[in-house]
Amino acid sequence: MQATTSTHTEAAHSHEHHHDPGFLRAYVFSTDHKVIGIQYGFTALAFLLFGFLLMMCMRWQIAKPGEAMPVVGKLLESLLGDVAKGGVISPDLYNAFGAMHGTIMVFLAVVPLAFAAFGNYVVPLQIGAVDMAFPRVNMASYQCFAVGGVIMFVSFFIPGGAAQGGWTSYSPLATIIPTNGQTFWLIGMVFLITSSLLGAVNFIATVIQLRAPGMTWLRMPFFVWTQFVTAFILLLAFPPLEAAGILQLIDKVLGSSFFIPTGLVVSGKPYDVSGGGSPLLWQHLFWFLGHPEVYVLILPAMGVVGEIVACNTRKPLWGYKSLVYSVLAVGFISFIVWAHHMYLTGMGTKISTFFQTTTMIISIPSVIILTCLFMSLWGGSIRFNTPMLFALAFLPMFGIGGLTGLPLGFNFSDLHLHDSYYVIAHFHYVVAPGTIFALFAGVYFWYPKMTGRYMSETLGKIHFWGSLIGMNLVFMPMFFQGLYGMSRRMSDGGATYALTNTANEGVVTAFTGTVMKLNVFVTHAAVLLLIAQVPFIINVFMSMFNGRKVESDNPWDATTLDWQTPTPPPHGNFAKEIIVHRGPYEYSVPGHPTDFTPQNAPDPKAAK
């Protein structure tokens, strides 16, 4: 530990030789991977909060169909006009918020946070590189992302509002809605996709080319592996969606018919286009990305959890090789399961059998990954700090989400569950208490490296328990609602189908009081969840100034290279040249004086 503190002073010393690059160069147009990572991180967190707030408006409407939203309703009316007349969220606005909640959460919050922010900050550090392979491409990637984000954000305020076709933007609906929201969405998506592609090229090249001497493939931390595979998924799955987006844009703007078949009649009038297209084509191209995309959301999260579990159990990850191979397998198979989102579009039996089978096959590597992480606990010396709590909670939460993917994966049970709240609950368990918890864990874990200060443990624990309880109260009831037949994307929360609706008199499947009461319950739980985020926000900002200072460069006594740098790492990252001597998780090595052996610590045998 003495050694690391001395590198600290050394770095501080060498830092003085750098000339001051000026505020703009240092923070806005920086090409340093750490600055870009932090830029991504804050933008993504802001969008995460924004996406959540959109959902709170929707949850209000689900719980109280037709009633004006207190306070916020007025604000929405003055900002957005008639779509929020009298503070009531109209179906148009509900659909716009729904589509944008999905889009923002997936493309503007979780991907940038999990992949771009953590990836940018941590991957070069963990492989012992001085920066990304293409720093300027890295900056361009962030700028494309920012432009895409601005376009998405602005689209709320254009006449007619944001896109209303769901995050899946199925044609013909997305094309037929006369407002311009969809056009903005598509242009925004083209920017976001371009950003991800640039990022992916950069990540892959960095991992392949810039690993420090001795950092062989199987000495790379698990986190780097997950990012590497994620980058490949982005690189190869996004372009077909970009193609599809361009086609839909041309449909929308130039009136072509890629996704519009002949003979449509909209509002009683023949739809005036040439026809001859296919709505299924859009779905294929969308889900060709859409399914691999969900692994883009989960793999980096698994990587974060792996790092934190290893460090806080003080022992090597169990089955490191199986983890790596499983991640590779997930990456490959994720490209050939996409049509399980399309079982009920009338597809033939042969093809649906194929996709059911691949869907079951892909669950196997997921099971292996989770099993390895669970088994890693055995024999550990577990420290329950905040990052570890979130990382531990990830495991059963992802487990629930993953397991409930199984009934959806068989077309026979999907027959009943398709497009119900069961699906909503399934994937939120994976992405919200799953991925988001892992990301929280990552923030708490790497914060000391980024700032030189810890986040508050007390606030952290309040945040953790509030979030854990809140998340489960929000999403667990949705399984029941889904089983009962409650459909998703209903702007009135299913009131049309409720027994209280007089038109449903005598209808035996009308929603009973319980189903409708659960709506209200979930909304209350969501409020609790929102309140539980307050300590986090306070914590992030306050700890920068008065958090407890780290006592060394390696505050968690971790083995990977990201902790063998000065704190915070200077431009160029490492104070001296790094040579890697061993695997990533050499914790509690028998006979070693400390319970961790950093990857770059000289080989004791060689020293003799």
């Binding site: 392949i208 493939w217 078949p261 002949t262 003979g263 490209f335 049509a339 194929f354």
Partner: protein, 128 residues
């Protein structure tokens, strides 16, 4: 993807190709001849394809197959010689192999899915 490098060498060690030969003037001179030849082949292939169109082979299937075959051969020459793929590093083959795998998945499965569609389409609004 790339596990063939599980015991990768540190920098400074010998690499898997005699790289310097490839930069020698004699070698480049030789390749220039190759480039000219490939240029010729590409021209010839184009003439052949267009010629075929004017000859008008009765079977559409054969026309398509032959035209695509010629195009693939031409593409092979461009990629192999102009883009030096015939003589590239393993890493790049790995990347391209993944790409080809996914491309086949994309094209093959969507086309299969569309063909395994048991239901008829409405043409001009009429069931056909």
């Amino acid at each position: 993807m790339s596990h063939d490098h599980s015991h990768s060498h540190g920098p400074g060690e010998a690499c898997d190709h005699g790289h310097d030969d490839h930069n020698s003037p004699e070698y480049i001179q030789k390749t220039i001849k190759k480039y000219m030849m490939v240029g010729g082949i590409l021209f010839g292939g184009t003439v052949l394809t267009v010629g075929m169109y004017y000859v008008h082979i009765p079977s559409v299937a054969i026309t398509i197959a032959v035209a695509l075959l010629i195009a693939t051969i031409k593409a092979g020459f461009v990629a192999g010689v102009f883009m030096h793929l015939s003589d590239e590093r393993k890493m790049i083959y790995g990347v391209l192999a993944c790409t080809v795998f996914f491309l086949i998945g994309l094209m093959g499965l969507t086309i299969w899915a569309m063909h395994d569609f048991p239901f008829f389409t409405l043409v001009g609004g009429k069931p056909s």
